[in-house]
C-alpha cells in the first residue's frame, strides 16, 4: 500500500527528471562570485555541548 506521499514523490521525481536539469548536480558557483549568504537560519532547539570542557 503506497501512501499518498509515496505516490507524490514518485510522480514528482518522474516529472522533475524528465528533462536534463538546468544546473548539473556537480554545479558549484565559485566562492569569488558569491555575493549573498541567503537568510540567517534559526537557532536549533538544542544547545551544542562543546567537547572541550
Amino acid at each position: 500500500m503506497a501512501s499518498p506521499e509515496h505516490e507524490f514523490v514518485s510522480k514528482f521525481l518522474t516529472l522533475a527528471t524528465l528533462n536534463q536539469p538546468v544546473l548539473p548536480a556537480d554545479y558549484k558557483k565559485p566562492l569569488q562570485q558569491v555575493n549573498s549568504l541567503g537568510v540567517a537560519l534559526p537557532a536549533l532547539k538544542y544547545k551544542y555541548h562543546s567537547k572541550k570542557t
Partner: protein, 307 residues
C-alpha cells in the same frame, strides 16, 4: 625561516631567553620596539618574521594576551605592506590561529581581524576558504557553533566534512530523532544559498547515510534518471528537503510551487528560506510586506510606499 637575517635571529634568541625566564612584559616591549623600527624603515618582511615568531612563543608559553596582541600587530603590518592573500601569507595566520587557545577571550576579534584582511586582499567577498576551514575548527572547539557554521559553509572541501560531522555530533548529543530534519535542513539550505549544488548533494548523502546506518528508520531508495532519493515513510521533512534540492537544480518554477503546495507544513516552517530560494532559483520576486499606515501616508505625500 632560513632567509631570516642574522641580526633578527639574534634578537629572537634574546627574546626567547626572556620568555623562558618568565619575563613576559619585558619581552613584549622589546619585541614591539624592534618591530616598530623594522616597520618604520619599511623592512616589512623582517617585521613579519619577528612578530610571527614572537607571537607563537607567547602563545606556546600560555600568554594569550601578548600573543594575540602581536597577531593584531601582524595584521596591521600585513595591511601596511599590502600583503596579498596567498599560501604563505595565509599559512602564517593559520599557524598562529591554531596556537591560540579556543578559550582565549578575544578569539572572535582575532578571527575577524584575520578574515577582514583576507577579504581586503583577495577576490573572496567573505574571505579566504582555507582560512575559514581553520576558523571553523577553532570555533567548534570553543563552542561557537553558529559562527563555525558560517565559516565552514564558505570553506574548502575539508570544511564540508567538518560541517556534516558538526551537525551529526550535535544531533547525536540529544538523539531526538524527531529533530533530524532541523539538522539536515541546515546543510541543504546553507549550500543552496551559495549555489553549491555539488556540496549540497555530498552533504545530503553523508548525513542521511549516517542517519540510516545508526537509526535504521523505514527507508526506501528511489533512483530516477540519476537522482537518488531516500524516501522516509515517517519523516516528511527529509523527503521534502531532498526534493527541494532537485527542484532548485531544475530551476522550474512550477515544480517549486507544486512542491511547496504539497508539503505545506515544511513550507511554513521554512518560509524564510524558501522565499530566498524562490528569488535565487526561480525568479519569484518576494512580496513586499505591506504596511497599511505606511502605504496610506506614502499615498498622501505622493511618494512610493515602503522604504
Amino acid at each position: 625561516m632560513s632567509s631570516m637575517n642574522v641580526k633578527l635571529q639574534r634578537t629572537l634568541q634574546r627574546f626567547q631567553i626572556k620568555i623562558e625566564a618568565g619575563d613576559f612584559y619585558e619581552a613584549h616591549q622589546t619585541l614591539r620596539t624592534i618591530a616598530n623600527r623594522y616597520v618604520r624603515s619599511k623592512s616589512y618582511q623582517d617585521a613579519i618574521d619577528l612578530i610571527t615568531q614572537g607571537s607563537l612563543s607567547f602563545l606556546k608559553a600560555g600568554q594569550g594576551g601578548s600573543g594575540t596582541d602581536l597577531i593584531f600587530y601582524l595584521l596591521e603590518v600585513y595591511d601596511l605592506a599590502q600583503i596579498d592573500v596567498d599560501e604563505t601569507s595565509v599559512s602564517r595566520l593559520v599557524q598562529l590561529l591554531m596556537a591560540v587557545d579556543a578559550s582565549e577571550p578575544n578569539l572572535k576579534d582575532v578571527v575577524t581581524g584575520m578574515n577582514n584582511w583576507s577579504i581586503k586582499f583577495s577576490e573572496f567577498k567573505f574571505g579566504d576558504p582555507s582560512l575559514h576551514n581553520v576558523i571553523g575548527s577553532k570555533f567548534i572547539e570553543g563552542g561557537y557553533v553558529y559562527e563555525a557554521e558560517r565559516y565552514l559553509m564558505l570553506g574548502n572541501h575539508d570544511s564540508l566534512l567538518k560541517y556534516v560531522e558538526l551537525l551529526w555530533d550535535w544531533f547525536k548529543q540529544e538523539n531526538d530523532a524527531s529533530s533530524i530534519g532541523d539538522y539536515f535542513s541546515r546543510l541543504v539550505f546553507s549550500y543552496l544559498f551559495i549555489s553549491n549544488l555539488a556540496w549540497a548533494y555530498e552533504a545530503k548523502e553523508l548525513f542521511l547515510q549516517l542517519f540510516i546506518d545508526q537509526f535504521h528508520p523505514q527507508v526506501e531508495t528511489f533512483d530516477k534518471n540519476g537522482f537518488k532519493l531516500f524516501f522516509f515513510s515517517e519523516i516528511a521533512d527529509l523527503n521534502f528537503l531532498q526534493l527541494l534540492l532537485l527542484t532548485c537544480q531544475t530551476k522550474n518554477k512550477e515544480l517549486f510551487l507544486n512542491l511547496k503546495d504539497h508539503y505545506s507544513g515544511s513550507s511554513q516552517k521554512y518560509s524564510n528560506e524558501l522565499e530566498f530560494l524562490g528569488q535565487e532559483y526561480f525568479g519569484i520576486v518576494a512580496k513586499k510586506q505591506s504596511n497599511l499606515l505606511q502605504d496610506m501616508m506614502a499615498g498622501f505625500l505622493g511618494g512610493p510606499g515602503g522604504i
